[in-house]
Amino acid sequence: MAAPVNSVVNSSAKCSSFNATSFQKKTRSRLISIPGTRPSVQNGQLLVSTGVTSLDYLLGGGLAVGTVLLIEEDRYDSYSRMILKYFLAEGVVCRHELFVASAQHTPDDILQELPSPILDDVAIHKPVEQPRLSHEPQDSLDAMKIAWRYQNLPKVQTALASSSRFGHYYDVSKMMEAEIREAAKCHRFYLPEHPTQSSPTHSPMLESYSALLKSLRDVIQREGFEVTAPMSKSRNILRIGLHSLGSTLWGDDLCCHDNPRHGHALTTFLYGLRALLRSSLSVAVVTVPSHLIQNRALMGRITRLCDNAIALESFKGSEREANPLYKDYHGLLHVRQVPHLNCLASQLPDHKDLAFKLKRKQSHIQCGILWPFHLFIYFDL
C-alpha cells in the first residue's frame, strides 16, 4: 500500500528534524550503510553483531545501535570477559572504533587478549610468506599461471578488507594479531589514570562514573558519533566496553553492603549512559559483578536501565559441575531482558532455559550458545 508508507516516510523525516536519536525508521532517502551493521527484520533498527552469532540470534538479530547490553558476570569473570572480548574483536574486524574502560586491568591488557578471527574472506598480512616467494620464483610462477594479470601485484593484502559479513567466528585459543588490532582506533579509560576531583556536588553519581561519562561524551563529540553530526563524512559505530562496573575498584560500595551508601551511583550513571547512547551511533556492553550484589531490588533497577540483559552462571567450581545433566556444557545463560524499542511488543526468546559452552570445532575453540538443554533430559533417562 503506497499511502501508509509515504506517511511513515514523511513523519519520520519530520521526527528527525525535531529530535535526532539513533532510532530512525529506515527510509529510502536516509540509508546509512555502515560496514558491520544491518537493519533488523523486525523493526528496521540498525543492528551490530556482538561477535557471538548465537547471542545475536537470542537478542533478536543483534545489538541495536544506541542500546546497552548488560552482562551479569559469572563467578570468576571468565565467560563474561570472553563475551566482552568477542564484542571488541568484532569491532576490530568490522573496523568500528572502540572505547574500553576498566578499573582493574589496563585496557591494553584486555585488548591484547582479543580472540583471533577465523575468516576466509579476510586477508591477513603475513610477512613470512614474502621471503619464501623471492627464493622460489618457480612456485610463484606456477601458482600464478591462471591469474597472470595479478602477478605483479603484492601477494597479500596489507589492509584488513572490510568484511561485509555480519557476525564472525573467532578462535579463542589464539590471540588476535597485533597488526589487525592496531588497525582499529581505540580509546581507553583506565580509572587510576583519572584522579578524582571532588567537586562540590550532591549528585548521587560517583566521581569515577562522572569522569567516565564525561570521557565518553568527549569521545563521541570529538570523533563525530553524534547522530546530529554532519552527514558529509562517512559514519562509523563506536563500540563501548565497560568492564566490571559496580565493583569496589570503581569506588562503589554496591558489592559490599546490603544498603549501600552510593546506592544510586551506578543507576544514575546508567541513565546518563542511556542518554548518551540514544543520541549517538554507539553501542555499549557493560559487565557487572551481580553475584556480589545482595540487594535484588537494586539489581532489578540496574537491569531495567539497560536495554538488553543476560546473566551468565558458570559451572566451574560449583556442585553442578559433577551433575551428569550439565556435563556437556560450561554454564547456564539467563536472558533477563530484551528491549522493545520503537515498538510495543518485545521479541522474547522462545525458550528460557539456555546453556552455553565453548565448542571445539576442528582446531578452534569458539563460544556458542546452545538451545534448550532441558530437551536433553529425555535422553539422560
Binding site: 511513515v8 513523519s11 519520520s12 519530520k14 521526527c15 525535531f18 529530535n19 536519536t21 532510532f23 530512525q24 525508521k25 556536588t201 550532591h202 549528585s203 548521587p204 553519581m205 562522572s210 561519562l213 564525561k214 561524551r217 544498603n259 546506592g263 544510586h264 543507576t267 544514575t268 541513565y271 546518563g272 542511556r274 542518554a275 548518551l276 540514544r278 543520541s279 535484588r296 531490588a297 537494586l298 532489578g300 533497577r301 531495567r304 536501565l305 522493545h340 524499542l341 520503537n342 515498538c343 510495543l344 511488543a345 518485545s346 522474547l348 522462545d350 528460557k352
Partner: protein, 277 residues
Amino acid sequence: MFTELNSILNTSPDSFTQGDFILVSGRQSDASFLIHHFLSFYLRARCKVCFLGLVQSFSHYSAVCQRLGVSLAQAKEKRQLVFLEGLQEGLSVFIPQDDTTGNKALSFLRDPMVGLQNLYEFVRSSVSSPGGGEEGSDGSEQWGPPVLLVDDLSVLLSLGVSARAVLDFSHYCRASLCSQLQGNVVMLLHCEEEEEEDDGDDEGSERLLKGLIHQCCLALHVQGLPTGYCRDIHGQVEVCWRRRQGDGQHTQNKVFQYKVHDKGASFFARGTSSAVL
C-alpha cells in the same frame, strides 16, 4: 489506543470521566504498553497533554504512537502536547556544557535531596499555558482538560529521589490537575520483587506503590502469569476501580489476560486466549 481496553474501562475518547488519577503499575512485567495506550487515547480525545517521558527518547514514543495512529510530532507542533524528554535534558544536567545549567525541571538530577518541586512547577506551567483550556485569543486551537502522563516514577527512585518526595509530587499533581483543573493524571510505576523494608528510608518502591494506590481511583496492575512464562499470553492485568461515590467507597476488581502485538494489545478473560480455545 486499545479498543478492548476502552470497553473494559468503559471509556472512549468522546466520553471519559474527568478528575481521575490512574495508576499503572507492573511487577516484574513491563507495563509501558499501557502508557502508550493512554497517550494515544488522550491525544485523540483532544486534551492538552503534558508527557514526562523520562525513560525513552522522543522518537521511541513517536514511533509507537505512529503505529497506534497518532502523530506526536504534529501534536507537539499544534501545542497539544508538551513533551519533556528526560534523557536528553538530563544529559545536559549531568555534563553541563559551558555555563548553561540545563532544564530547571530536572534540577533534581544534580541534587536529589531537593525534591521534585521544580518538576511540579514545570508541569503546572505547561498545562496552564495559553492555548490550553482557556480561550485562544490568538486563534490557536482550544484543547480539552489537561492530562499529565508520567513514564515512569521508578526511574526517579533509581536517580536518588526519595519515595516521600515522589509521593508529594504526585499529591501536588493530583490536587492541581484533578481537583482544580478537572483533568486526569496517569502515572506508571514499576516494582521489583518483594523486598523487606528494614529501615525507614530505603528504596521505597513498595511504600510508593501503597501510597499511590491509596491516592488513585483506578489502578491497573500488570504482572506475569502465575504459572510462568508463556509466549501467547504475556501476562495478566488486574483492573481495580476505586470510585468515590456519594454513598461511600465502591471497589471493584477484575482480572484479564493480555497479549501485546505490533499494533496494539488484546485483552481477554482468563482462559479465553485464542491460543487456548
